[in-house]
Amino acid sequence: MPPVFGVLFDGLAYGMLLFLLSVGLSVTLGMMNFVNLAHCSFAMLGGYVTVTLMNALGWPFLATLPVAFVAAAAASMVLERVFFRRFYRASDLEQCLLTIGVVFVSIAAAAYIYGTDQQPLQLPAYLRGSFVFAGLNFAAYRLFLIAVALCITIALIAGIEATRFGAQVRAAVNNQRMARGLGINVDVLFAITFALGSGLAGLGGALAVAMVGLDPSFAFTYLIYVLIVVSVGGLGSIAGSFAAAMVLGLSDIAGKYYVPAIGSVLIYLVMIVLLMWRPLGLFGRR
């Protein structure tokens, strides 16, 4: 199989995963300017929920996914209410530090409960292996991942563009003060959006286990990628997150395949160059 297609396909799958992990953070950052570095802790939570349900309780893989979503969403609502809410108007630094603290605690907790090894995950038979189509090999799980991510993307776009809730979200991201003036309850809106975004991260984390593995360092490692996607894509932009995730996913896989010696250098370079060209992100507003 021509390597290019393999790289494209893998890059696409990886990009979709990054998108799921990042979109929630992008929207909440755009709406409330709250730098939530603990975003990937929710993703990690989703991953561990799936692993626990499957390995300890014998649940089927697909059934764990909604639970991962809900668990992450619920955890985020608790944290938002107890801690984060008071820091919406705080400085960047304070928000960073608060959420870094949460990350540290979450990593330590994960290591304590689960240890530092990679979590084993046995995918159901129908998601293992690969299909051959038109002479090309498609790994089943990656196909599944792409399909799920696409469905969610379509649902998100439909939700944002066509529902009243979506319109309110767009208004609040665009101009918070004006949105409040129009009678939109921005605080409740944000709490819901925050929960949804964290839930999506949890789902992403659950889906990530079979593709990139899971151990306590997940919360940090993927935080960096997510931050790159969000800052390059533009705060508050779903399209931006999507585009940036694709660019990042493809360049990372391509870089590692074609020029393994330089490894991750490529994505950092790409990020730096893109941020310098468009500091507010590709789709960010001026």
């Binding site: 730098v35 608060l98 870094i100 603290g101 540290f104 330590a108 290591a111 310098m276």
Partner: protein, 348 residues
């Protein structure tokens, strides 16, 4: 009476003011001078740094490491506490300094003081170059750029293993005796004297810088970035200057580490190091010069005491402390102390 300054208020309004005597004019200058004077707390602090020689001579190696980390934290305070630049990648300059000194020694020239100078130069150059990028951005873009630059540097260092030794680190570092006479002994006497002396000297430089007009401009940038151009300040130039200086100081700290421990590995450039120094600075309190020093001391002594513990537990408690400091003790230890002091002063 026409005032010396010649500001352009009309004659009318100047006539209405009472004439300025030299006595009255002397007051504002003296007040500012009084603020800059050495306070007794500072003198006590520096005397206390001599205690390890007498009280805990078995901990001199740890003490030297604390001094080095304190210097690193001081350099971060200059950009973060005094200028408001949030950097998640300050270890980049620490690492450049460490590798420069390490490589110099490995290639046969282990003279420590020249190693320091070259390390400061190399780190300063890196800092100067990156400052052109850093100075143009704020908020998330700035944070990401600082992070990205450090990660990039670490990746490059990893790939360039022919130079850096990759994940094995630099081998063959041997630091010559200082001034040809003072060898680095196993007990750490030389190491601590060396690190402490450098910390003090650089501290004096930083202190003078903070109390200069430039230092005032930095605080202005921190306090209100919008107002600065409106009073004619070239913000970017100021930021570039302080960033370069802070990078050079971080480089000195890195070089000290390389010289006193005779090892350099990739983690000197890593995110962990950048995050740790940030935590120490916040713990101690930003914008007060001593915050980084105290935070470093507290953090590293605590870590040494709890080193038997699982590293997991350490980060659990650090995370909680970080959350607690942000929520309950903004301004860190020094901030809390100064609030206590002002409350004590107010009580009759």
């Amino acid at each position: 009476m026409i005032p010396k300054s010649g500001i352009r208020f009309s004659e009318e309004i100047m006539r209405q003011q009472s004439p300025m005597t030299d006595q009255a004019l002397a007051a504002p200058r003296d007040y500012l001078q009084a603020q800059i004077r050495w306070q007794w707390g500072e003198i006590v602090f520096w005397l206390a740094t001599l205690l390890p020689f007498v009280l805990t001579p078995s901990y001199l190696v740890l003490a030297s490491q604390i001094a080095i980390t304190a210097l690193f934290a001081l350099s971060l305070d200059l950009i973060l506490g005094f200028c408001g630049i949030v950097s998640l990648g300050h270890a980049a300059y620490f690492g450049v300094g460490a590798y420069t000194a390490g490589l110099l020694s490995k290639w046969g020239f282990g003279e420590p003081l020249s190693g320091l100078v070259l390390a400061a130069l190399a780190a300063g150059i890196f800092g100067y170059l990156s400052s052109f990028i850093i100075a143009r951005f704020r908020h998330l873009a700035l944070i990401m750029l600082t992070l990205g630059l450090a990660l990039l540097l670490q990746e490059i260092a990893n790939s360039a293993s022919w130079l850096t030794g990759g994940s094995d680190g630099l081998q063959g570092i041997h630091t010559w005796p200082i001034f040809g006479r003072f060898r680095f002994d196993l007990y750490g006497y030389t190491a601590y004297t060396y690190s402490l002396a450098l910390l003090f000297v650089v501290f004096l430089v930083a202190r003078r810088l903070i109390h200069s007009p430039f230092g005032l401009a930095l605080r202005g940038i921190r306090e209100n970035t919008t107002r600065m151009p409106a009073i004619g300040a070239a913000i970017r130039g100021h930021i570039r200057t302080i960033y370069t200086i802070a990078a050079a100081i971080a480089g000195i700290a890195g070089a000290l580490l390389a010289q006193t421990t005779e090892t350099v590995s990739l983690e000197v450039l890593g995110f962990q190091r950048s995050a740790d120094v940030l935590v120490m600075l916040i713990l101690g309190g930003t914008g007060r010069l001593y915050g980084g020093l105290i935070g470093a001391a507290v953090y590293m002594i605590a870590r040494d005491q709890f080193s038997g513990l699982n590293p997991q537990f350490w980060y659990f408690w650090i995370g909680l402390i970080l959350i607690a400091v942000v929520m309950l003790l903004p301004g860190g230890i020094l901030g809390g102390l100064s609030r206590l002091a002002s409350r004590a002063k107010d009580k009759p």
